[in-house]
């Protein structure tokens, strides 16, 4: 290799790494350009410059990141074997000062107040710690400031926050206003669009804003429009915590929502709770979620859905031999128990009761199919990821074995499952928080109209699911009133009033009741049209 090219190589080798670090130091794209192409020595000088700039960093220079987050004492929830993350101090660095961190997050937002730690307003705005489990705390002045991260331990305050480009007038009322400005409410959603749950990302992206656009045209929520930040949790709990963290600490969302996936929802809900961020999700397991003060289920939990399904087996299917197949995760133990108990009570004969791994191999699913076939089950009470369900059904059918599949669920009732699984899945039946497309025009004509309007073309059921969830959230935000804070939001939910959307079931909560949905829809696969049809709306049993 020639000396010249080796020089280039040096620039590549040494400078790139240094330059990238510089990017962090100065948080400016422009710093990277020159440094990258520079020979190492100049790069070194840049580094020196960067170092200097950084020395000022903690002080909160506009260039470098601002607030130092000191330790927060691990709350009871976080420190235990809770699956939640330790409440690492505060809600992250200034999104405003460190522009590149997240350009979109220029919107002013206030830090959360920790119950005990008084939050001192810095010159530029606010500092605050992560809220304790109750999530209550004194207000911090200046919605326009970036949330400082205040220490839990000893309650030392972080440095002053850097001013954000979009200043918002200080609000009179007490409360945590993160993610809320005059014009906007930022909410975070996480869902699996990669991994073991096959959600086409395109469908997700298309659907996520439809309702909010529709609402915006009708004046929004007290003049505020809702902005949705979306993250893919890859069907992986650890990943879910990471993305929820990003949404809370970098994007500064007002509330978090989980679309599907019990493990991801549980993990993220626990994190949200440790940060005092209200967290809503479709109903999954109760185990591990009960007792989280910031958690609310927008639809029936798996356990709540059990009696409905059992009564259906007994009174509608008139079958007796059932098998229970569930994903092999501790969170579903309670569901398995409740199904077993109720089924036995109803005189059903449980011929097989098995759990399969989330990442079960084809051959494992095949042998499970065999076992089911030999067990002679007429009904399979199923609670697995769609992928496992489809593979299981396909293998079973290849064995000329086609039982009735039914179960609780959010994702298994989606048309993509029918598309991929038919004819193998037969007339599979799943409960769902939202109805299918066949009845939506009757229940809520606005959906298709709006979808048509903002995306063009007919809306799909994923969009419908998002529409329904958004509608519930919208109603809740509305109920929280004009002075929207995390506290007023939670208060509104706990007030015990009904939230009715005509898409999602009616739901109401109280201080103690967090699984407040009253009913569910029963969907059935129709393999001629390769779609799911709604066979019972807002059902509470059969």
């Amino acid at each position: 290799m020639t000396r010249r090219s080796s020089r280039v190589a040096v620039a590549r080798g040494a400078a790139v790494a240094v330059a990238l670090l510089l990017a962090a130091a100065c948080g400016q794209k422009s710093d990277v350009g020159p440094a990258r192409s520079a020979a190492p020595a100049p790069a070194g000088q840049d580094a020196a410059g960067g170092g200097a700039a950084v020395a000022a960093g903690p002080g909160g220079s506009a260039g470098g990141g601002s607030d130092v987050s000191a330790g927060a004492t691990p709350g009871p929830v976080a420190s235990g074997a809770s699956g939640g993350t330790a409440p690492a101090g505060g809600s992250a660095a200034s999104p405003a000062g460190g522009g590149p961190t997240s350009p979109a997050s220029g919107a002013g937002s206030a830090g959360a107040g920790r119950g005990t730690t008084g939050s001192a307003a810095g010159p530029a705005g606010s500092t605050a710690g992560s809220p304790g489990p109750t999530g209550r705390g004194p207000a911090s002045a200046g919605g326009g400031a970036s949330p400082g991260a205040a220490a839990g331990s000893g309650g030392e305050n972080g440095g002053p926050g850097a001013t954000s480009p979009v200043p918002a007038p200080p609000s009179p009322a007490a409360g945590d206003r993160t993610g809320v400005t005059e014009g906007k409410i930022r909410i975070g959603v996480h869902a699996p669009i990669t991994g073991a749950a096959p959600f086409p990302q395109s469908a997700f992206d298309k659907g996520k804003d439809v309702y909010w656009k529709y609402l915006a045209e009708k004046g929004g929520i007290f003049g505020r429009n809702v902005e949705v930040v979306f993250r893919d949790d890859q069907f992986n709990p650890s990943r879910a915590v990471q993305v929820c963290r990003e949404m809370v600490e970098q994007e500064h969302v007002f509330i978090l929502m989980g679309a599907a996936g019990s493990e991801q929802i549980t993990a993220c809900a626990r994190y949200a709770n440790s940060m005092g961020v209200p967290y809503l999700s479709a109903g999954v397991n109760e185990d591990g979620l009960t007792g989280l003060s910031s958690y609310f289920a927008t639809s029936q939990s798996y356990v709540q859905q059990t009696p409905v399904l059992v009564s259906y087996i007994v009174n509608k299917l008139h079958k007796t031999k059932i098998a229970i197949v569930m994903n092999n995760t501790p969170a579903l133990n309670e569901t398995q128990q409740s199904v077993t108990k109720l089924a036995q009570a109803a005189g059903l004969d449980i011929v097989r009761n098995s759990r399969i791994g989330k990442n079960a191999s084809d051959s494992e699913l095949l042998s499970e199919a065999n076992a089911l076939r030999t067990s002679g089950a007429e009904v399979v009470y199923l609670l697995t990821s769609p992928v496992n369900f489809i593979k299981l059904a396909t293998n079973a059918q290849a064995q000329a074995y086609s039982p009735v599949y039914l179960g609780p669920g959010i994702t298994n009732g989606l048309n993509i499952v029918a598309e991929a699984g038919c004819p193998a899945i037969g007339a599979a039946k799943f409960l769902s928080p939202f109805p299918q497309l066949d009845v939506i025009d009757k229940l809520d004509p606005d959906y298709q109209k709006s979808y048509e309007k903002y995306n063009g073309g007919r809306g799909d059921d994923i969009g419908l699911a998002e529409w329904g969830l958004s509608k519930v959230i919208g109603a809740m935000l509305q109920a929280a009133g004009k002075d929207l804070t995390r506290q007023s939001f939670v208060n509104a939910l706990e007030s015990g009033r009904d939230f009715t959307t005509n898409v999602y079931p009616v739901v109401s909560y109280s201080g103690s009741i967090r699984f407040g949905a009253k009913s569910s829809h029963l969907l059935e696969a129709d393999c001629n049209s390769r779609t799911f049809k709604t066979i019972a709306e807002f059902t509470t049993g059969f």
């Binding site: 669009i193 990669t194 991994g195 073991a196 749950a197 096959p198 959600f199 086409p200 990302q201 791994g357 191999s361 084809d362 051959s363 494992e364 095949l366 042998s367 065999n370 030999t374 992928v387 489809i390 593979k391 396909t394 059918q397 290849a398 064995q399 000329a400 598309e419 991929a420 699984g421």
Partner: protein, 295 residues
């Protein structure tokens, strides 16, 4: 386990194992000719499947030509790998080449993740009704019958190719005595390209059959699903015998599916992977020349 389950496991094992056998064939061919452990072998297959899917489902080309296009893609990738990576590192240690081909595989996977969606895709079986045939009281789908037939046909063709055609004989020659072959006036380089191309073709077929069998595919599914069993199969065959590799594939397949369906392993998660690992280690430590390879 019941006789039925056993028969079932064996039948399935034979079919999946034959797939492993195809991968193993490619691995052995390449190893014989250039001493490379080709970790990209599996990905050649995945690429073929992705191409097939795109051309067939998206652009709407009918199945048969689409399959051809898919195979072309895998062959092209194999040739590219040989040109761009293997030749450049010809005098490098073999482990370097191994790492390099692993790099190629990862690159392919990442592109699949990026350009195709990261999720698993399901495909409809090429044939309609699924459960017409029955082997030893085991329902076997037309799809699987088709696969079995295809595999046997391919095996026979390869057998003929290597025993009858000059090219085939030349390949065997080059793998035994490169220099001698060169003297015989056969260009080792050209042969090397040809062998890689052939490996790509085999991988392509293997990938399509595997996807057809599982009725689904995702990024890197061949690498994660078939590469290790394929290598194990090749090792069973002593890394130098083509029939050995194919038989080895069947052995691995059956062992795997027995492990999965036998109640003895129920306690262990992922019994298939454990079985393959154990098989590999045992063979390598106790009988490095392979069960069927000559000492």
């Amino acid at each position: 386990m019941s006789a039925h389950v056993l028969a079932q496991a064996v039948v399935i094992g034979v079919i999946t194992g034959a797939g492993y056998g195809l991968v193993a064939l490619g691995l052995v061919l390449v190893h014989k000719s250039s001493g490379v452990f080709n970790f990209a072998q599996g990905e050649f297959g995945t690429v073929a499947v992705y191409t097939l899917y795109r051309v067939h489902d998206r652009i709407g080309v009918p199945l048969v030509p689409a399959i051809a296009v898919g195979l072309v893609a895998s062959v092209a990738m194999a040739l590219a790998t040989e040109r761009v990576v293997v030749r450049r590192l010809f005098d490098a240690p073999r482990v370097t080449l191994l790492v390099a081909t692993a790099g190629v595989a990862l690159l392919a996977i990442s592109l699949e993740l990026w350009l195709g969606e990261a999720r698993l895709r399901f495909i409809q079986p090429a044939l309609g009704r699924l459960d017409r045939f029955s082997l030893f009281g085991v329902q076997v789908s037309d799809q699987r019958i088709l696969i079995l037939v295809a595999l046997l046909g391919l095996a026979v063709l390869l057998g003929l190719f290597f025993s009858r055609t000059n090219l085939g004989l030349a390949i065997l020659a080059v793998s035994q005595e490169p220099v001698a072959t060169e003297l015989m006036g056969i260009s080792v380089r050209r042969l090397s390209s040809f062998i890689w191309g052939l490996a790509g073709l085999l991988a392509g077929v293997a990938g399509m059959l595997a996807a057809g069998d599982a009725k689904s595919f995702g990024p890197g599914f061949m690498t994660f699903g078939a590469l290790i069993p394929g290598f194990t199969a090749a090792v069973l065959g002593g890394m130098n015998s083509l029939p050995g590799a194919f038989v080895g594939g069947v052995v691995v397949g059956v062992a795997q599916s027995l492990a999965v369906s036998s109640s003895a392993f129920k306690a262990i998660p992922g019994p298939g992977a454990v079985m393959v690992f154990v098989l590999l280690v045992v063979v390598l430590t106790l009988r490095p020349q392979g069960l069927l390879g000559k000492a």
